[in-house]
Symmetry: C2
Subunit: 190 residues, 2 copies
DNA sequence: ATAATTTCTTGATATTTGTCAAGATGAAAT
DNA sequence: ATTTCATCTTGACAAATATCAAGAAATTAT
């Protein structure tokens, strides 16, 4: 099974092989260099991508500060789901933190799958439901955990990321300041 | 258009009338009295409901505290989506805060719609995508707003709720303590 | 290699939010 | 009507987190 096949089955669920090949064939390899934008806030999001190598940052600039919503690493997908599904202006900006290689499908091709693969809408549903569950976990972490606990949990599951991206991006996506993370780290050396 | 028809179209999207009638026919009116549980954490969630009148609280008890995830009011739906869709044990407990009347569909009937209404899985996808967007907004509020701002925003949009449910439930779902809300309120009288 | 820039850490301090305890208020039960 | 219980508010205090500023370390550009 290729990487892309693996990503698709793990997010969308199991498909028979013919359908999987149909789906895979509509994805294209896309290379973006460090700093390049895949999407700007306010534009329509016309694609969905899986990260093959590299890193993407999903964020939005508000008058007060820049809010990083997520950093997509190998195997993650990346899109502005609301914009991609409903065609509304995107909330998020997506930018490559380093040179990044993607498997990308355009919205047009994505919609085409619906005609080619009978069970597609059901798979889509499962995909979005998985996304929903991830966000639900995150909400729960904000309702029930301290900054320190949120940091710990994230660190355990994403150790490598801390060697790759500036700390303030991670801090932002966890809802705290970089200084807070620094202090948590210091405390834990003792 | 009946209330239920309205709820369905607003969450799932527009359906032709025959399909809408098919869908509506599978919902049953359910009455629960104050304090009754619709779901317990750890059980499988076997139904999805729309609140016609009354109030439901969605929460989970952790060793340290009780975390209220949401309070469903008239027109809201209520279910443990992860459990309902994937059949995993429910994270949430759902309890009626007051006598409540629901439009409820069982999981079996819900799945039956897939066979009766061709576009059903696509509608489901849209439904879950809308749920996703709501959670995304909430995540954003935790990443970018103070407790006071989160309270303000919620209060503006849900004034009536404050006359109906204990403050500590609302505080919990906003990720703060009831004392914090009390103080925010006091400050705003000045 | 050096300079320039960004990132990370640290300290001092301020602000926000939480905790605990007590009293006040209001609702429900007897 | 009285009691009981839960809720809400308030104060005093503590803890968590943010802010600001400075310096150290690391990275990037020249």
């Amino acid at each position: 099974m290729t990487e892309l096949e693996h990503y698709i089955t793990s997010y969308f669920g199991v498909v028979n092989n013919d359908d999987l090949q149909t789906i895979v064939s509509l994805f294209k390899v896309e290379k973006v260099t460090k700093g390049m934008f895949l999407l700007h806030t306010g534009n329509r999001c016309e694609q969905l991508s899986f990260v093959q190598t590299g890193l993407l940052r999903i964020f939005v600039s508000t008058p007060e500060k820049e809010v990083t919503q997520w950093i997509s690493t190998k195997g993650n997908f990346s899109t502005d789901l609301a914009s991609f599904v409903f065609g509304v202006p995107a909330r998020w900006t997506i930018q490559a933190l380093i040179d990044t290689q993607l498997y990308t499908i355009s919205k047009a091709d994505y919609q085409k799958i619906g005609e080619l693969v009978p069970s597609w809408h059901e798979l889509e549903k499962l995909f979005i439901a998985r996304c929903f569950v991830m966000l639900e976990d995150r909400i729960f972490s904000h309702l029930s955990m301290s900054a320190e606990e949120r940091y710990q949990l994230f660190f355990e599951n994403n150790k490598a990321l801390f060697q790759q991206v500036p700390l303030h991006y991670i801090a932002s996506m966890l809802g705290m300041t970089p200084e807070t993370i620094s202090r948590i780290r210091k405390k834990q050396l003792l």
